[in-house]
Symmetry: C2
Subunit: 374 residues, 2 copies
Amino acid sequence: MDERFQIHYEITVSESDTIESALETICLEQTVEMPADAISQEIREHIAGKVISVKPTAEKDTYEAIIDFPIANTGGEVTMLLNLLFGNISLMPGYKIIDAELEKLAFLPGPAYGIEGVRKKLEIYDRALSCTAIKPLGFTAEEFGNLTYEFALGGLDIIKDDHGLTNQRYAPFEERLKACVAAVERAADKTGRRSAYFANITGSPDVTLSRYEMACEAGADGVLFMPHLTGLEILSRLAAQNGPLPMMIHPAFSGSQTIHDDQGFSPSFLYGRLWRSLGADFAIYPNARGRFSYTQDECLAINHAARSNSRFARIFPTPGGGINRATIPKWLSLYGSDTVLLIGGSLYKHPDGIQEAAREFRQLLENQPKEAES
Amino acid sequence: MDERFQIHYEITVSESDTIESALETICLEQTVEMPADAISQEIREHIAGKVISVKPTAEKDTYEAIIDFPIANTGGEVTMLLNLLFGNISLMPGYKIIDAELEKLAFLPGPAYGIEGVRKKLEIYDRALSCTAIKPLGFTAEEFGNLTYEFALGGLDIIKDDHGLTNQRYAPFEERLKACVAAVERAADKTGRRSAYFANITGSPDVTLSRYEMACEAGADGVLFMPHLTGLEILSRLAAQNGPLPMMIHPAFSGSQTIHDDQGFSPSFLYGRLWRSLGADFAIYPNARGRFSYTQDECLAINHAARSNSRFARIFPTPGGGINRATIPKWLSLYGSDTVLLIGGSLYKHPDGIQEAAREFRQLLENQPKEAES
């Protein structure tokens, strides 16, 4: 018997449609793309999706359903898994994916590091981690080096490239990489403790792989990567090669799939579950109350998905936006210590400068009482 | 002075926001990611976006705006162009991209074939083209070969793999490729006219490139490719290499970016303009009245974007869905002869069988009176 795996949907039915026909659409459109009366009983039985369960939710005209599919339909390829999850139905309103049995798919590598691996690498075991982004685009490599040095002197745990920095001529990738690695090393000589520098390796698939290598050789401590720009498969490929650098994943270009209530992926599925299964070690997401649009409950759901039990290692939820010196304690007590807090803009505006901003951020994390975890 | 290029937005302002602050968000969020008071005048002037124009539309709280950005912000990379178009703002409601000066970006290759190149290759100069997909997933390579043979005997112009067929064990890529190429050749021996077979090469970036090579070597006539699964950059890379096979592009996984009225890309921008600039020769899109959700006006806008004047060759709009033997004349007179009509399911249900369905489809195209083109 062919092995199958389940996908969980939230389906909003339009006035002119029924839940039965919406379910039939998924079962056929995501597999055979033919009407039921044009396929054989054998194809229907062994290839098409099968409805396992369906029930109405509290919302009007909205249902939760589980459909299962033969794993063989993916051909063992990440790209076809994405197509099976959300190929043609991405073009129709009303279909939202909220979970899937990703653990059953042997070709998904999961994270090479995860929370435990990152903690061991950074030697920080008992508290949340601080993270910031160096910016703005337009600075030279030397200016980014100086900025990194200031953050490192102040004791920031992870200093990453802003996601808009790649290989622009203002500060070419290799120059910036070398300047920033040198900066964390110089600061470590002075403080006795090394901040981690994460380089943004995003580019074409080939370029991404080669920037990963360059980051290894130059002595970076991790990488930042935007897989929705490059293609999600490269994430799983990098994770599967078990390289020396943990991967922090950024959601650029993915928003249309997660900000609509009745269509796409739930944020917790895409950023917590799918990215984790593909190999993210950190999942950056727009925090509630930031410049973006998730609710606090959605953020808690992402955290839970990133850290729940699974054959994939637990990963660090990395909320960014809406966090500043005044609100750090609140978010820490809400999100727990297995979290990376990403603070950008507000550190740059600290009245006493970058170094002091970093020091204060770090101290707030170190002083946080041990808490109830989600 | 740095060269800049313009992006056109449709912006829907929420009740708690103003158009001024929405514009400022784009200018900063898509470049420096810092508040205006945290960057220098020089960075503001040379790196951030600049509003060129803004005007209200007929819709309440909705505006059209043009913002320009330094081309250097892209670093000459497709991935960073995507980020500049729709990176962080993809995560916020209210921003929709409706056009951009893509012609100014030297790193965008445009199509290797386009309408004229495809017509020359297929030797069909004066009418719309017929296209169908072989399906369902679950058939063996031999069954797909037989099906292709029937369609080819009937004279279908382009017979493509269904987008769900890649390398599943039911009909592995190479076996299916060989069986289908052999089928169009056998039919050509009999009819004196060869149908084109387009193989679905979608996979990881590396696999996509190698399947393109396999398709060339086996004697396929073109390829089908789903760049939103693999990463859009591979499309431009394949186009730039000027290979022997035209590329038909499928929108799987992209729908969330085009089906929401107030967010994402307009369908005409993504499927007509952006794909074309990256190198698509055919742009498949869900036709109005099909199982999907665009209006007829949106479909006409895609056609126009695919065929308007530009430094990029004109490409074939390839509407699929909602087209059958009864409605072919209507769609032809509406869309014009520089169109590929993609018909799937309904051919399979023709009362006189596949071969006759193909023959009738072809005849309807050949008999269509010459028309007023869009």
